[in-house]
Symmetry: D2
Subunit: 457 residues, 4 copies
Amino acid sequence: MSKLWGGRFAKKTDSLVHQFNASIDFDARLYDEDITGSIAWARGLVGAGVLTAVEAETIITGLEQVRAEFAAGNFAFAPDDEDVHTAVERRMTEIIGPVGGKLHTGRSRNDQVATDFRLWVMRACDEMQTWLADLQQALIVSAEANLNLPMPGYTHLQHAQPITWGHWALSHFWPLARDGKRFEQVQEQAAILPLGAAALAGTAYPVDREFLAQELGFTAVSPNSLDAVSDRDFAADFLYAAAMTGLHLSRLSEQLILYSSAEFGFVRLDDGYSTGSSLMPQKKNPDTLELTRGKSGRLIGNLMGLLTTLKGLPSTYDKDLQEDKEPLFDAFDTLGLALPVMAGLIRTLQLRPERMAAQLEPSLLATDLADYLVKKGMPFRQAHGAVGQVVQLAEEKGVALTAVSLTELRSISELFGEDVTAVFQIKTALAQRTVKGGTAPAALKNQLLEAKQALRV
Amino acid sequence: MSKLWGGRFAKKTDSLVHQFNASIDFDARLYDEDITGSIAWARGLVGAGVLTAVEAETIITGLEQVRAEFAAGNFAFAPDDEDVHTAVERRMTEIIGPVGGKLHTGRSRNDQVATDFRLWVMRACDEMQTWLADLQQALIVSAEANLNLPMPGYTHLQHAQPITWGHWALSHFWPLARDGKRFEQVQEQAAILPLGAAALAGTAYPVDREFLAQELGFTAVSPNSLDAVSDRDFAADFLYAAAMTGLHLSRLSEQLILYSSAEFGFVRLDDGYSTGSSLMPQKKNPDTLELTRGKSGRLIGNLMGLLTTLKGLPSTYDKDLQEDKEPLFDAFDTLGLALPVMAGLIRTLQLRPERMAAQLEPSLLATDLADYLVKKGMPFRQAHGAVGQVVQLAEEKGVALTAVSLTELRSISELFGEDVTAVFQIKTALAQRTVKGGTAPAALKNQLLEAKQALRV
Amino acid sequence: MSKLWGGRFAKKTDSLVHQFNASIDFDARLYDEDITGSIAWARGLVGAGVLTAVEAETIITGLEQVRAEFAAGNFAFAPDDEDVHTAVERRMTEIIGPVGGKLHTGRSRNDQVATDFRLWVMRACDEMQTWLADLQQALIVSAEANLNLPMPGYTHLQHAQPITWGHWALSHFWPLARDGKRFEQVQEQAAILPLGAAALAGTAYPVDREFLAQELGFTAVSPNSLDAVSDRDFAADFLYAAAMTGLHLSRLSEQLILYSSAEFGFVRLDDGYSTGSSLMPQKKNPDTLELTRGKSGRLIGNLMGLLTTLKGLPSTYDKDLQEDKEPLFDAFDTLGLALPVMAGLIRTLQLRPERMAAQLEPSLLATDLADYLVKKGMPFRQAHGAVGQVVQLAEEKGVALTAVSLTELRSISELFGEDVTAVFQIKTALAQRTVKGGTAPAALKNQLLEAKQALRV
Amino acid sequence: MSKLWGGRFAKKTDSLVHQFNASIDFDARLYDEDITGSIAWARGLVGAGVLTAVEAETIITGLEQVRAEFAAGNFAFAPDDEDVHTAVERRMTEIIGPVGGKLHTGRSRNDQVATDFRLWVMRACDEMQTWLADLQQALIVSAEANLNLPMPGYTHLQHAQPITWGHWALSHFWPLARDGKRFEQVQEQAAILPLGAAALAGTAYPVDREFLAQELGFTAVSPNSLDAVSDRDFAADFLYAAAMTGLHLSRLSEQLILYSSAEFGFVRLDDGYSTGSSLMPQKKNPDTLELTRGKSGRLIGNLMGLLTTLKGLPSTYDKDLQEDKEPLFDAFDTLGLALPVMAGLIRTLQLRPERMAAQLEPSLLATDLADYLVKKGMPFRQAHGAVGQVVQLAEEKGVALTAVSLTELRSISELFGEDVTAVFQIKTALAQRTVKGGTAPAALKNQLLEAKQALRV
């Protein structure tokens, strides 16, 4: 039975229940935010005439000592510390005496925990931005170094049209930019101060909430106290942004796993980013990529868990909400490894241009062949059909598209002429796609510039 | 076997496969966006020198006729129409002849479908805003009409502190404001034009993509063509925003279901918003609220489905992405009923102040009793304990908190005095919570104003 | 306002509410089960002395006529038909007159809908078994035809050890066998009769529930009437079994997509199971496989949706439960296409042994090389290390494992002898794995037999 | 770089990568299963002629010492111990010397980890059965003690018909029985031995897999080695069974939360199972129930995470599968607290019959009133309508159903007679529901017996 709320209780909490209810195992991680929040609250209480300046200073000194103990790793938990808020207040009061009991005036754990958690999310978003930018930087470097290195482009995992490594690497830059944008929006949403909502109805003391917001780096004050203690949108938003980041990493991983297979062989992972087999001595496995892909499941699971927990809850605080923290901590830790590891993997990745070149076969240029006919005046839909027949002919004969003779071509369409051979150049095909976002050298140069600028912001 | 791509195929598609692959059953819904997009593309092709102005006009006339047929409900689908894009082009070409075959020059279904779908999402977000605002309006009206009507406030579904109906109704206004914000962000994200990316590498024709964006109401042009045909973030974002809206509705529903139970009895649903039982003649069931709560599962399921589908896909287009549309259509239709129905339910809801009053019992004021001691100088933590003892005493005697005698109170703390009776006034308790977001009349008046302003924007 | 329950209502249901509440759009699909269930109930009411035999026969005749109308596709829905149960009773009463009003005696829609839905699930499980068995059959045929055709085996998508096509094809047989087992268990769970539970408390008429169960093919009678109207475990079980089937199909699809890529080239999809591109004339895309993989998301989403809907509901019937049917219908329809399509695809799949052979390079035998050392007395852990050095040496020299000279081998371990060349035979490697489940010919023959037997059951 | 597989690697693993890949933090939990499995494997290797009996005994002695170190909590992990399998083998070899290097002959971590994990699941299912049975026992005791205590029954959370506490308590017994059945099926599915599959193709040594199965308590041997290392169905099955158990607990929790509210007041939680508020001294919150309800989200999230991880993976082993363990451990730990806590809560729950009685108002008997008319010959559908009118009349007059005069009743239907008053007896209404599963005393007695028998099995 907690000293925090035990006055009216005749009987101790069952010990299994205590263990079930306790959150200290995971919310100890919030000690810093809790203490920062409490210091602001103490100052707020001075403004409200509840504490004298001296009392507040005593409390703040006590809190800072508790912070130091946590930071040094020698904070001693007591068996009754059901959560970090209880633990901090208990220890602070041990240090400074009964005046510590004044800190919780006009505050509830409901608004306190919401404040701490929002502070944590605001900081976590900053970390995310750093990790994302680091991986984006690695992709830019890789793109720049091989901006015009030709490789086959795929749709449906089938050879489609030639692209370049730079084009491909940047195609994984932009999804991360969207992730960054999402975490920005999460941070904005998190930066609404709940402190002062008390249990649900608003504190009964004239604390200046705008002052509290400023002290703590919040940009606004929650407009409704019932909603303030109830709202976990910011937590769901964070998990959604993390799940999307995970998805983007899983898509990048999938491709690099393919590209590092014996059959593709476009890239070779650095030894530092591969692992071996306990049985098969030759194996060099893309474990980090597979784990990254696998962990997208975990990130989605975390989101789904919280959404289900929130479903159907009445407004204000219900204890179900205690389930909000662990999935965020897990998502943060997961991406806190996956993103830097991916950045390192990209930085040390060896490309194998000769293996890419080996796959640059003529059928990748079939669209260009149709465009050739279009330029000679044939409507595209008809040109597509004609080239389809050429492809089928080549396939029946078991030869490459380039080995179909002009006579044969002309039997399909009279528009084919001697100049058709000019079509079968990878370089020419690449150079055609000059539109913004396209695979032509100039377009890629611009895109690279745009990416660098996006990152600088 | 489709005329669209069949040139190279020796054999017809298996009929079950045709049925499996076809998306016409659901994507016919995109006919308007598809035609709008194609008209812009035709104009773009004029700029690129692919079409003459006359050819473009012919094509546009044909497309407008197809649009009219769809709008009038007499568009005749052909068995080979595998999707709306095929159907529109097929019919347009029937109408205007072979020149129609020029429309698809330099375009792929990959960028075409992404464009159509983004246009649809941009419009859908507008509808969402309207529906959300309508429900918010209904909540404002309800709040204003009963701004200071006292009712018990709950945490953990236990009596906590007195609040008012206005306070409660507004607590469901703000989550919807966050939903509106989210749909705004979805719309921004959707408004990036993919058209011109062609299959994956960028179109080979010098089409002015900025011009296309302007024509179609997009605010920017996608920076990378591989990403352009691959990116479904906007679809996931939409489903996430819808899932959150669903959660907020489920929480509102849960409370109104409780409030309309015989035991609470705080509200009575209008007959138009209730249904009966096939067996029990007396029943008046909150079916609409239950369905709304139930449908939050469906909305979360839609999100989960798409996230899983996206997981592990390589970049550019894979056919898996065809699974993107149905969940969005379903989410849109679900909220397109749930939001207006909830607005109507709120507008016709009858409040029962006498039933609320019956639950306003003295223990709701225990915090105020502790505050009384605090004001007399006792540290809050100690005051909380003292009042806990008072509560336990009252419970043991089986009486209300107000029935504990002053002598008994003083046996617990000497700070209790004659003036303690003043604490036991609901009105006084309400009036204390004057901070922003609190339950005092002035604070609520301000909050109402803030809500009205938020809605106007 | 429904005639079914409208007696006590003063006002008509709002029309949007009617649309929101109505389930007739999707539950019309249950007409056959509803009529079958009602016929049994009519007979039960005779036993209970509620209906005379003549009345029951009149009712049954009416119901059979309704069934015929539905089957012929000319059942005329009325605007007030909110669900299939209402529609059937309404029409039956139109046909036979007021005596039809006796059918619903002692029954509620709560137990009626649970009965109908369980009947549907019981039938759906039978269909699933047929579809699963058909695909399993296709895999058996493919395995048998190429039981010992060597191909590279992969772990981590890296070359691991040689296996055979038969071994691989059967590796996709057994997961489907587990799916079949799961649907069997679903069917068992569904076959518990809820009819007689009435709204929640049990019917007040002495209907023989065991008789009803027998009439309808249920194997047992629900033990608790509150649970009977509330229990949707069987629906969740069905969705879970469907999601697992979808996962197994997605894993099979993923591999066949890889195997049909230009880089692997192990298989060629039949034209009837491929589709083309609207832009790129050469494309032959594995759309059906990609869609199958993509739809695993939808199936998981359906499960997620229902689980979330069920979460936190009190026992007995809540209208939220109306959300139970659509996901099951969707899962059933999805697999009802995906399974037969996959079976057809497997049956028409062309193997390309020469492309498989091209990938059977010596490093696949590194484990066998380690085993060679083990047989000469070296502990495995040490042998693994030694062969690792051989692999590294070969890689540094840029040669195949077989091109490392005996001298070089002996510099790593003196245990290498002339006989080492015998190791480098794919056939020998395959023949070594004779344990049950292994890739040796005899083991595969047994496995094939076991698969055939499993299917026959 | 691991000693386990490092032979071919030129470079050490990046330290962040090591941390990312390592599973030792969570799979150390499998030490007991790993050692048990290794002992069986050592014996199998004797049978296969790979180890001498003496070598095997040495290895087993070493393994048992490692087990003792783990059990005593003084196992010393080394920095390179990437997983429990590596750690056990490393330490065992330190203890017994180079002969330890022979243990891994013919085995891979792929089949080893699958074996260990299946063993763990088999044991975990046993624990689940114990916990489930304990809660079921608590429900039986509660049901038996108050078998015929009347209380209102609800559908749609509205008063429906009278039931009894015993009836209600048992309605939560049967879902748990289904959970038990599910865990039984999970256990069956888990008890298929993968050991001997080696990396993927089957071990090259003639180990007797049937012998291994017997040694380890498996009931069968996996039929296909590729599937054996790939199959995680049993893990998904476990998570699904856990999610369903969580759902059942969430539904029970929801009701008890309602019943313990001030408005319902049907039950009072024991102090040992409640907690208080840090701000409001009077609060006694059903935290344990809310947490249990909230944790159903986490259990569903765990399932969804794994399903997504498995989606689209090729067959055999991919490192993504390492993500299989943490969600199961979490689900197991969650239910390992939630189930016993719920059992304790039920055992100490105080019922408040007077509060239940206060809600037993006449409208709960409206169905009985309709049945009264049916017995007088009116078709049910008509009787339902007539009673609906009675209800409306009573409501308009603002009186109870019982206060409608006979004259008024007869104005609605002439079939109403003096004997109608007999209908308005809760006891009579209860006694009518004599069918199996119904709420009549005899039916409940039988049901209780059936529940006891179900538990004994």
